[in-house]
C-alpha cells in the first residue's frame, strides 16, 4: 500500500506534471493532425468511400486487392522506388559534400549557407516551374547549354524517354531537398571535437582515414536522420512529377496515383489504401537504412 502510494506520488510530482504540461500541446497537435487522421484513413480504407455512390459499405480487403492487380499502380510503385534510389543517393552524397564544404569554409560562410538553403526555402511548386522552364524542349536552358557546348545538335524532348524523365524529376526533387540533408549533416559535423582530428593527424592518419574513422562514425546519427527524411520525402514526391509531366504514366509517382484515384476518379477509399501502403513501405525502407547505417558506423 505504502509502495503504491509512493509510486503514485512519484508519478504526480511537480517535475512530472511540468513535463506532461509541456508535452501536452504537441501530443494534442500530433494526435489531432496526424494520429487521428491516420486511424480514420486506415479504417476507411476497408470501406467503399465514393461520393458518387450511395452509402459506405464495408468491403474488407477489396481496395487493397484492386491495387495489387492494377497495372498503373504497379508502374507507379516502380517509378517511386526509382525516385527514392536516385533522390536519396543525390541528396546524401551532395548533402554530405555541401556540409563538408560549409564546415571547412572560412570566408563567406554565411552567404554560402544562404545560397545552399535557398532551394529548400522555395515552395515545391515554384521549384518545379523553374525546372519546367529549364527542361522545356523548345526554349529550355538545358537544351541551350548542351547545344552551345556542342554536345547535342537538336533540341531534346527530355520526357519522351521514361528513364531520363524519371531521373530529371528526381534531380528536381533532390535539388529541393538536398539543403535539408546538408544542414542536418553540418550540425553533426560541428559537434565533433576538433582534438580528435588533431590526435589523428599526430598519429599520421590520412584525410580519408580521418573521414572514415572519425567523421563518418560520429555523424552516423545525423546521417540516419538525413537518410530517413530523404526516403520519406522521396516516397511522397508529388509536385515535381505532376508539374513536369502531368499524369504521364512514365513518371507517375505513387502520390500522383493517390491523387488521381481520390480526387480525379473520386474513389477515396482506393486512394486511402494506396497512401497507407506507401506509408508502410516508406517507413520500412527508412528503418532498414537507419538500422544499417547506425550499425555499420558505430565504434562499439
Amino acid at each position: 500500500m505504502a509502495q503504491s502510494f509512493h509510486k503514485k506520488r512519484a508519478f504526480l510530482d511537480r517535475e512530472a506534471r511540468l513535463g506532461l504540461g509541456l508535452s501536452l500541446p504537441i501530443i494534442l497537435i500530433m494526435g489531432g493532425l496526424v494520429v487521428l487522421p491516420l486511424i480514420v484513413t486506415v479504417i476507411e480504407s476497408f470501406y467503399r468511400v465514393e461520393p458518387m455512390k450511395p452509402g459506405m459499405p464495408f468491403v474488407g480487403l477489396r481496395n487493397y486487392v484492386n491495387l495489387m492487380v492494377d497495372d498503373k499502380v504497379l508502374t507507379s510503385w516502380v517509378n517511386t522506388f526509382i525516385y527514392v534510389v536516385i533522390a536519396v543517393t543525390i541528396e546524401t552524397l551532395g548533402g554530405l559534400g555541401a556540409a563538408l564544404v560549409l564546415h571547412k569554409a572560412r570566408a563567406g560562410r554565411r552567404w554560402l549557407l544562404a545560397a545552399v538553403i535557398l532551394p529548400w526555402c522555395l515552395p515545391p511548386v515554384v521549384n518545379a516551374i523553374i525546372w519546367l522552364w529549364i527542361y522545356n524542349p523548345s526554349y529550355g536552358l538545358l537544351n541551350g547549354i548542351l547545344k552551345a557546348a556542342g554536345l547535342i545538335a537538336e533540341n531534346h524532348v527530355w520526357f519522351n524517354d521514361r528513364l531520363t524523365g524519371l531521373f530529371l524529376v528526381a534531380v528536381v526533387h533532390a535539388w529541393r531537398m538536398l539543403p535539408l540533408t546538408a544542414i542536418i549533416l553540418l550540425a553533426s559535423l560541428q559537434s565533433i571535437p576538433a582534438n580528435l582530428y588533431e590526435a589523428a593527424r599526430l598519429d599520421g592518419a590520412s584525410p580519408w582515414k580521418q573521414f572514415t574513422t572519425i567523421t563518418l562514425p560520429l555523424i552516423s546519427s545525423g546521417l540516419a536522420i538525413a537518410l530517413s527524411q530523404s526516403t520519406v520525402f522521396a516516397f511522397n514526391l508529388f509536385d515535381e512529377a505532376w508539374i513536369l509531366n502531368g499524369s504521364s504514366i512514365g513518371t507517375r509517382s505513387l502520390m500522383v496515383q493517390v491523387y488521381m484515384s481520390a480526387f480525379q476518379n473520386m474513389k477515396f477509399s482506393l486512394g486511402m489504401a494506396l497512401s497507407i501502403l506507401a506509408m508502410i513501405a516508406s517507413l520500412m525502407v527508412s528503418a532498414v537504412y537507419v538500422l544499417r547505417v547506425y550499425k555499420e558506423t558505430r565504434f562499439d
Binding site: N136, P137, N155, N160, S248, M266
Partner: protein, 416 residues
Amino acid sequence: MKRRTLLSAAAALGLGVAILPLSAFAAEPLSVLLPPWVTLPKEMTDKYTAKTQGTLDVQTLGWDEIRTKIVTSMMANTAPASATEMDWSWVGQFGSANWYDDLSGILSDDLKKDLPTTSIFTYDGKLIGVPYNNDFRVLIYNKAHLAKAGISQAPKTPDELLADAKAVKEKAGVQYPIGLPLSATEGAATAWYLLTKAFGGDLFDKDMNPLFTDKDSGGYKAMAFEVQALKDGLIDPASTSLKDVEIQELFKSGKVTFDVAGWAGNLAVYSDASKSQVAADAAAALIPNVDGKSRTIGLPGALGVPVSATDKETAHAFINWMLDPETMEDNYLKLGNLPTRISVLEKLNKDGKLQQGDTLIAQAALVEPLFAEGTPGWYPEFSAAVATNLNAAAKGQVSVDDALKAIADAAKEAQQ
C-alpha cells in the same frame, strides 16, 4: 484625468474590436472561384458593384486546382466558395454526389431558351450549372502562312489539312505547322475527341461501348493521324510536353499555322495586337471533316452554387449578372470568353465585334455534346486514360493499337 482617458480609450478599443466582425460581415464580399481565363478585370468588377452594390472576392485557380478544391471542400461539407466554376466534364461526378443546387429556378423561360447548352449541365433533371462560357472548337489558322504556301482557302478535310501543313512547312518555312497538344493533360484528350468527330466517328455507342478500337473507326484514325503528323515533323516534338494553352502561345507567336482544336472565343485574343503577334493573320474555318460536313464539340463552362454555400441569394445575383448581355460582351471582348446566349452572339456579330463572326455562327450550329445523354460520372477516369495513353503513343512508348485498347479497357473498368 489620465486614468479616465485611459479607461475611455480601453472601452473604445474594446467596442471597436466587438463591432469589427459585425461590420466586416455586413460588407463581406461574395466568394467566387473561377479559372484563369475568367480573371475579371477591375472595370468589370466595378460594374458588378455599381449594379448590385456588392463586391466580389474572386479566387483564381487553375482548372485542375479548382476541381481539387471543390472535391476537398465538399467532402468536408464546406463550400469552396459561394459560386464556383462548373466544367461540363464534372457534371456527372458532382451531380451524382448531390454537391450542387438546382439552379433552374433562377432562370426565366426566355433566358433558358436563349441558353441552348443548359442541357449539358442538367443532371437527373437538375440544372447544376448555368453556362456562361461558350467553348466550342473551330479550326484557327494563320492566313499569311497559307498565302505564302500558295493556298487560297482553309482545309475542309483532314487530308487537306495534312497536305496544306506539308506545303506550309516546305514553302512558308514554318517548321511545325500543326498545333496539337500531346501531353498527358485534358487538353490533349479533348483534341482527340474533336478529331474523332472530324474523322466521322464517335467515342461510344448508346450502350457506352467503346467505338474507337477498330482500325476503320474515327477514333483510331484520329490518333493515328496525330502520331503520324508528329513523326512526319508537322507537329512540334515538344508537344508531348505541351498543354493546350501553350499551343495557343505558339500560335500567337506565329510558330504554328493551324490551331486545330482552337477555342472559338480565342479568336478575340488572337486578333488583339496587344496580345498576339499574328493579330492581322488569325482566321477561322469550320473543323475539317472526312465527309466534308463539319462537326465539332461543345465544352462550355458554367457557374454553380454548392449546396453548402452560405450566401446563395447573392450567388444567384452574381450568376444573373454574368448572364447580363453587357457582362457577356465584356467577357468576350476583354477575356475572349464567347457568350452562351444566342441573342448576345448574334448582336456581337451584327455589331461587327465578333471576330470571324460568320464562321463562328456557322460552327455554333454544328456543335454536338460529347455525351448526348449527359457527361457520365466516370468521364474523368476515362479522360485520364485517354490523356495518358495518347501521350505514351506520341512518345513511341506504345503503339496506337495498344493505346486505344488500354483506353477501351479503362473505359469499361471506369463504368463498373
